[in-house]
């Protein structure tokens, strides 16, 4: 019956190979919530990252212990033992003190705000250098949803993206896909903060006539009650007025360095909080 001598298996295989990338293009049009087929891999990824987090903490502690032991041995030869032990203890205490201060500051912030916040720890980074995301140890089981704001005491970090059951990815402001509305704090010029990789972002759609200077602080606009209003996003690094452009080219540097962040807050409900006056920012 196969007059044309066609190998149907090969044709079906070839169609399958081509169809998967094409389907993936179609899938991009759907919202994250509709992507049910991603749930198993999200679950696996969350489980793997949590496991490695526990493991890596163990490795860090053991390595730290080993290094401390070497330190104690060297110093004990000089200071007859006891002194070095106290020094090591003091270092551990200092580390605990730093952590305590950090957590206390977070607690004070949480108590002083009317926002509903969930504290989370950073457990992982993005797989490729082309994207800027971090993974936190809270997910949909803890009430997290796609698009919720993620902040630190210093300023805005990003927003929830791909929440899993027990872990979630946070899209950082510097990622190419990140978009947040922002206001220049000094002049109230409105724009959209867009990531541009390499640790920076741009303030787009600011009219040419607006007064924006290097060193200005860009704060959240508070639209849609996702971010609290008036919270620092970035500082202006450079401003360029192009002759034939209706808007300014403004380059920003985020106020928070994501590589140094260990704990974050996820804003589950901003309750229209305006942090401008409390942070001493001009309104």
């Amino acid at each position: 019956m196969n007059f044309l001598n066609i190998d149907l298996k090969k044709i079906l295989f070839f169609l399958l190979v081509i169809a998967l990338p094409l389907l993936s293009f179609n899938v991009e049009q759907k919202s994250r919530e509709d992507q049910w087929f991603n749930e198993p891999v999200q679950f696996l990824a969350g489980f793997t990252q949590e496991t490695f987090d526990v493991f890596s903490r163990g490795v860090k502690e053991t390595t730290g212990l080993y290094l401390n032991l070497i330190g104690i041995k060297k110093e004990s030869a000089d200071l007859k033992g006891r002194n070095s032990e106290l020094t090591t203890r003091l270092e551990a205490m200092n580390e605990l003190q730093t952590e305590n201060d950090r957590l206390r500051a977070m607690l004070d912030f949480r108590q002083a705000t009317k926002m509903e916040l969930i504290a989370a720890e950073v457990v992982g980074r993005d797989l490729v250098p082309d994207h800027s995301t971090i993974t936190i140890n809270k997910g949909t089981n803890h009430g997290l949803k796609n698009g919720q704001a993620v902040i630190t005491l210093g300023g805005v970090l990003g927003y929830i993206f791909k929440p899993g059951a027990s872990t979630s990815h946070v899209m950082l402001l510097s990622d190419r896909y990140a978009v947040v509305d922002g206001i220049v704090q000094r002049t109230r010029a409105h724009g959209i903060v867009e990531g541009r990789s390499a640790g920076g972002c741009n303030l787009k759609y600011v009219e040419r006539t607006e007064d924006v200077k290097e060193g200005d602080i860009v704060v959240t606009g508070g639209l849609d009650n996702i971010f609290p209003k008036g919270f620092p996003i970035a500082t202006v690094q450079s401003v360029e007025r192009k002759t034939f452009s209706v808007s300014l080219k403004v380059e920003l540097k985020p106020v928070v360095d994501p590589d140094k962040v260990e704990e974050v807050f996820v804003v589950t409900n901003a309750k229209n909080e305006d942090l401008g006056p409390r942070l001493g920012l001009k309104e």
């Binding site: 998967l20 899938v27 991009e28 891999v41 990252q49 797989l127 250098p129 082309d130 896909y177």
Partner: protein, 174 residues
């Protein structure tokens, strides 16, 4: 026989999952801001080089799908980049091939460099904001490929159950 088939499917996927875990959690915890070696890509390169059957591309897609859970990279970029990379690696392997770890290390460096070029080129057409150059991160990644590809080669060959038709590719050892 079905156990061998199942092992040949699950083994690379589990190793990809572990590689992603090491890269995204363990590495930053120990080495901080230093760019991590692309272990996941080395596993995929190994598959493209040493699994000679054409169905390997489906396994590469599956590994890419798993990997997408660890990054903000869209699935369209992941699948399209991996398809092109797999074709390039397969094409090259059919013309230049020798057994042993030295070939894998060399092929891995070329494969990671090729992936970065493919990714940046596709990004221009498929993404709203194209990928940045990030020369330092990319060079560090390429340098780290040399030691890490050795580890990936040893691990993958340790757990591999070769298909009789692929025996030639696995001869030579280290």
């Amino acid at each position: 026989m079905w156990k061998r088939h199942l092992w040949r499917i699950l083994m690379p996927l589990v190793i990809t999952l572990l590689a992603c875990g090491v890269q995204t959690v363990l590495w930053p915890n120990i080495f901080g801001e230093l760019t991590a070696p692309p272990l996941w890509l080395l596993v995929i390169t190994w598959l493209s080089l040493y699994r000679e059957r054409s169905s390997t591309i489906l396994l590469v897609y599956a590994a890419g799908w798993l990997t997408s859970a660890f990054t903000a990279m869209p699935l369209k970029m992941m699948f399209t980049s991996l398809l092109i990379l797999h074709l390039v690696v397969t094409f090259t392997r059919q013309r230049i091939f020798w057994s042993g770890v030295s070939y894998f290390v060399l092929a891995s460096v070329c494969s990671v460099a090729a992936f970065q070029i493919i990714y940046m080129a596709l990004s221009v057409f498929l993404e709203p904001v194209r990928a940045a150059w990030l020369p330092l991160e990319r060079i560090v990644q390429l340098l780290l490929v040399v030691p890490s590809s050795f580890v990936v080669y040893v691990v993958m060959n340790r757990f591999e159950l070769p298909h009789p038709a692929e025996q030639r590719a696995h001869e030579g050892g280290l």
